[in-house]
Amino acid sequence: MLRKLSRSAALTARRRYVQTMFQVMGHALDAISRTDKKVLDEARLLPVGFVFEMTVLPAGPSLVVEHVGEGRLRYLGSSPPANVDLSIRFKHIAHAFLVLSFQEKTAEAFANDRMLVDGDIGLAVRMTRILNRLEAIILPRLVASRAVKEYPADLGLFEKVPGAINIYRRVATGMIRDLTKEVSPT
């Protein structure tokens, strides 16, 4: 009985973790697309109004961002609008956990058939590069090198620390706003 309980607690924790990581990434994408030139250059070539979703089958959690133009990405929260242009779907929450806890690289997860791509492959490649860049900037180098194929050689501490602090601040602000929304009675 106790074992069953702790197992279900672990599963709930895993789901919560994925949910939280999606939120962090959403806010971080929003923030990084204001400051990082590499991300801006990649994102600029996405169609304006392009909606990207990363989700877990069969019913979420999800992360939805929109390209609002000029390379700026806006975090839309966790529920997708009617028209999603590109969707990357993990086949199972366990696979999302592997990637979001940096045990498996995104490219590896693709190679391992952990997820399905619905939409333009070229845009999926571009979004993966943006996510890689995000991880390289906000994660400690040791963790980041596990999460991405190749840690960018040109990403020195000068670029990294101010960039990361900026993003953490925005992410924290965004998360607090989300939480207040969650707890405040509607």
């Binding site: 190679a111 391992n112 845009l123």
Partner: protein, 394 residues
């Protein structure tokens, strides 16, 4: 490398002498009485349909319809026309005879004749199909693309000027029939280029992120057959055993890469093919050594292994372990030189006379958006790709 993988290949392989004569039995065993052939003018003109038709007639099986006008770059309109002919003639199975274009076209036709409708674009994408299609057989007439064992098809939509990808395991044929008669008359420069495509499939399958133990087995076997047979066939085009080896290697390399995917060579090749209209196999041959050099430090181990299959046990044993990856790349370069010597297969973009230096930037941009780049072991940036292209320019 990876601790998880998936591997799938439900295609029956019917290969070797008198393989074509197994087709009537395969058809009747699934109760098909009105098969349709999908092919192109080149195949027809080379007389390659004759043995197929004769084999069927001898077994009292009538080919109900033949469509022989598949263009090199097939489109949704062609697919619709063929589907209409299939319905008109009340056919009950498809036989693709040809190279990549005829095979891809037949895959798309199979969607329409099985699922109904006129607009194949509606089924574009991944995982749209959810049930098996009509019986489908493939007889390859080139030894390179491996399309007979892949679950993808690409068809041009001219009205919207886009290329539509179709991905589903239901696109796989029931059987691939590999008969040395079908590739014996393949011109030498096409033999060389398509064999280099197969070699690239095997090499990328073995060195990129999706590699797995099962695809490795197919990839190494393919490399061994190609290195053993290619120059022999170039010197003696009638070498039946050599032709069969190349055709089998192409199928094996196809099984390997459709389960492990390809990498940067293909990303560059797709971009170059689209922008400069260079044949796919030729692009593969040009880029392969340059990309291997770029990936070198990440793939030393698998590249060392490949030396054994390319050059044999003696060379492998006498090459110091630390030099084997470089020796593998040299062996591939040497093979390209030999092919250049025999049929002037270009080794650099400059030698093709179809690419201009100011197109390199465009190629680089396009390659960065190609799906294959995802599985490349190194994260190629624009600068990296540009540098590779400069080297490949020559």
């Amino acid at each position: 490398m990876s601790r998880y993988y998936e591997f799938y290949c439900p295609v029956k392989v019917i290969s070797g002498d008198a393989a074509l004569e197994h087709l009537p039995y395969e058809l009747t065993s699934i109760a098909s009485t009105r098969p349709m052939i999908v092919t192109d003018q080149g195949v027809r003109a080379a007389g390659l349909l004759d043995p197929v038709i004769t084999a069927c007639e001898e077994s009292n099986l009538v080919i109900a319809a033949i469509y022989d006008e598949v263009p090199a770059d097939s489109s949704t309109t062609v697919v619709r026309d063929i589907a209409n002919l299939y319905r008109q003639q009340e056919c009950d199975a498809l036989i693709a005879v040809g190279g990549g274009s005829s095979i891809d076209t037949a895959k798309a036709v199979n969607i329409l004749v099985s699922e109904g409708g006129d607009d194949v674009a509606a089924y574009s994408g991944a995982g749209v199909l959810s049930r098996p299609l009509k019986p489908f057989f493939v007889i390859p007439t080139t030894a390179g693309t491996g399309s007979e064992v892949t679950s993808v098809a690409v068809i041009a939509d001219r009205e919207r000027s886009v290329k539509l990808p179709f991905t589903s395991s239901f696109l796989l044929p029931n059987a691939a029939i590999i008969d040395p008669r079908m590739t014996r008359t393949l011109p030498l420069h096409i033999t060389a280029a398509t064999a280099m495509d197969a070699l690239t499939h095997a090499t990328e399958a073995y060195t990129c992120l999706g590699k797995n133990p099962l695809s490795d087995a197919y990839a190494t076997a393919a490399v061994k057959k190609i290195s053993g047979a290619l120059l022999k066939v170039m010197d003696n085009p009638d070498d039946g055993q050599g032709r069969l080896d190349l055709a089998e290697a192409s199928t094996m390399a196809g099984i390997a890469f459709s389960n492990s995917m390809v990498g940067l060579v293909h990303a560059l090749g797709h971009a170059t093919g689209a922008l400069c209209h260079l044949p796919h196999g030729l692009c593969m041959s040009i880029y392969l050594p340059f990309v291997l050099e770029y990936n070198l430090e990440q793939i030393r181990e698998p590249l060392s292994d490949l030396l054994l299959y390319l050059e044999g046990p003696q060379v492998w044993a006498t090459t110091p372990a630390s030099r084997r990856p470089e020796a593998t790349i040299s062996a591939i370069r040497h093979l390209r030189d030999e092919l250049h010597h025999r049929c002037e297969l270009p080794r650099t973009l400059r030698e093709t006379n179809k690419v201009t230096e100011d197109q390199l930037d465009q190629i680089a941009h396009k390659a960065l958006d190609d799906g294959a780049i995802m599985f490349n072991p190194r994260e190629a940036s624009f600068k990296d790709v540009e540098a590779i292209l400069k080297k490949a320019w020559g």
